[in-house]
Point group: C2
Chain length 361, copies 2
């Protein structure tokens, strides 16, 4: 029998706390029964919801915490008030002690990153963590990182991001040799900042069996799905992600307005309502509802703040998948192989410690 995946949940995170986290976990458990939970937070509030899901209750241990990190708290404030005692910290710490394989929180992003960094530390030789989003594209899904963990990057950080993103793509998409694109601007000669250009040269030199460098991609290549992984530093990545989210909201608002403006449009929209349900699902698929904190010595998933139970179940599923498919080992393999290359050794014969799964997205 396979060992169950042990998942630590911050029940107090997100805009809705246990009322979303608990039903989300229950939904997830229905899909993946090979999981057990440690749920951190206000035990009374948790019990209120947990009692409705006997199967989940049987698979869970609740650990009380009376401190929760506010969605608007500054990271330093959250660390001061919530270190060791908050539900968020305790969920992360469970990963550190080995009590859990991964932690999932829909709480305050800045606080989650700060606490994860302090508690879990980065995985050598990675110096700075990254936040990786799963982005729905016309071809399927891509990984975009960094969407806000670290502002600014030197060339080496872009290379680290490329390797972490590729390792995550191998874990998540079962692609043997994912393609990595470096986000840049399209005007030929002013093309990009020095660091991005240097990173591109470095990536061209790495001949890894674990990823393939595609070259530069532009903003509109993300939605197109041109590469499996899109790499940029946290400032630009955060703005790209939020701009895309804003554009999606804007277009759905336009669509809603147009479809309700006249009776005839309302009738048409009613008849084609299946199409709009489908559109909604394609825009916010469950599989993209969590971002992954990469570069840490542990698996931490950030669910979106305004997530619903279905979305939260998707965020847990991302964590579960990262554990089952050995994300951390894949990152370590990637880094080790790159270091061998830097040391000038042959890498052609080097094999990753795990056999890659079948190809195809």
């Amino acid at each position: 029998m396979v060992e169950p995946v042990r998942i630590a949940l911050d029940a107090m995170g997100g805009d809705f706390g246990p009322s979303v986290v608990i039903p989300g976990a229950a939904q997830f458990l229905d899909r993946k029964p090979d999981s057990v939970f440690i749920i951190y937070g206000d035990s009374e509030k948790i019990a209120e919801h947990l009692n409705a899901f006997p199967k989940l209750r049987a698979a869970s241990k609740v650990i009380h915490s009376s401190v929760s990190v506010g969605m608007a708290d500054k990271p330093s404030q959250a660390l001061r008030a919530g270190r060791r005692v908050s539900s968020m910290w305790m969920a992360i710490e469970a990963v550190k002690t080995g009590a859990a394989h991964c932690a999932v929180s829909a709480g305050n992003t800045g606080a989650l990153m700060a606490m994860s960094k302090v508690c879990l530390r980065t995985m050598a030789p990675i110096e700075r963590p990254a936040l990786a989003a799963i982005w729905p594209t016309l071809r399927g899904r891509s990984i975009v990182l960094d969407v806000g963990a670290t502002i600014g990057a030197d060339a080496q950080h872009y290379v680290d991001l490329s390797m972490m993103g590729a390792a995550m793509a191998r874990s998540l998409f079962d692609i043997e040799r994912p393609t990595v694109g470096l986000l840049n601007v399209g005007v030929e000669e002013v093309k990009g900042i020095e660091e991005v250009k240097t990173a591109s040269r470095l990536l061209q030199q790495i001949d890894s069996p674990l990823f393939s460098y595609h070259g530069f991609v532009e903003g509109d290549d993300i939605g197109r799905g041109t590469s499996d992984v899109v790499v940029t530093e946290g400032f630009t990545g955060n703005i790209a992600l939020k701009t895309a989210e804003g554009t999606a909201r804007q277009i759905t608002a336009y669509l809603r307005e147009s479809l309700t403006r006249s009776l005839i449009n309302k009738i048409g929209a009613f008849i084609a309502r299946g199409a709009f349900r489908e559109l909604k699902m394609r825009l916010t698929p469950r599989e993209t509802s969590g971002a992954v904190l990469l570069g840490l010595d542990g698996v931490v998933i950030k669910g979106h703040g305004g997530i619903d139970a279905n979305g939260f179940s998707g965020a847990i599923e991302i964590g579960h998948g990262m554990v089952r498919r050995a994300l951390l080992e894949k990152i370590r393999d990637m880094m080790a192989l790159a270091e061998e290359q830097v040391d000038g050794q042959t890498v052609a014969a080097a094999a990753p410690s795990e056999r890659p799964l079948e190809t195809g997205q």
Copy 2:
């Protein structure tokens, strides 16, 4: 009688050249008969199309050029081969000599920027030009700059961008005191790069009657229309713009797929077809189909490369509006007022040289 606006057109620019430029100009002339044109390009090809529009022909002078800048040419290559002799250069030069009030080209962005900078030079004290996009929002339209003219920025450049953008908003939207937001990321304490923070402090200190500093905005605020002007440097701005374009294309592709997947959806979509026409118009409104090169000693409009005649007529209309509403003077006013402030003089009594038009977007 008002003097007509003299508009120089690069007939060879864009993916379709005169077949779009000429009908576009004809459409525009129907809306704004107070215009005359100087059309640069292959006179034979121009005549082919111009003969179909006698009214436009009567209002136009055609000047032959056998050199056109390719859409894939590098800026330096375009300058080497096209300086003085290409239709693009000649259109820009017409602005310099005063033969035209503004130039409009749907050609190669990098080449257009490079040629404009060499030919027209920047307007003192502005050191580097910017490309300003007009972005449809839930509230109407906003100006986003820089979307790719200049990569990287120090604090002073952000301030220059703010003032140029505000001057353009005053010209384009008839708002007396537009709001300006600085694009930044949302994580509180890692908030932004040093230059952006410093720029924010500088902007807070400027108490201009010509614009109001809103503070930081995030990627999703652009589509929301939180501020009339959104300021960022060219790398991030270009990526934000292209990411939004990519997302819009992705969503309309999803929508098309969903609406054609079943007969019942097709029927609904047919009944509500007016709504989808409206959506398309709201996503690519004619008034947003050109970007403005700011900071130059002349008005140059860049129409999108893949534009149709209706879109090109919108790009001309932006140029026409910038001339009629004295964009360059508004930028000069803005800069002069800011300099007085820096010199420590009272600015409360200072009035712009033009009376602002009525307020409201």
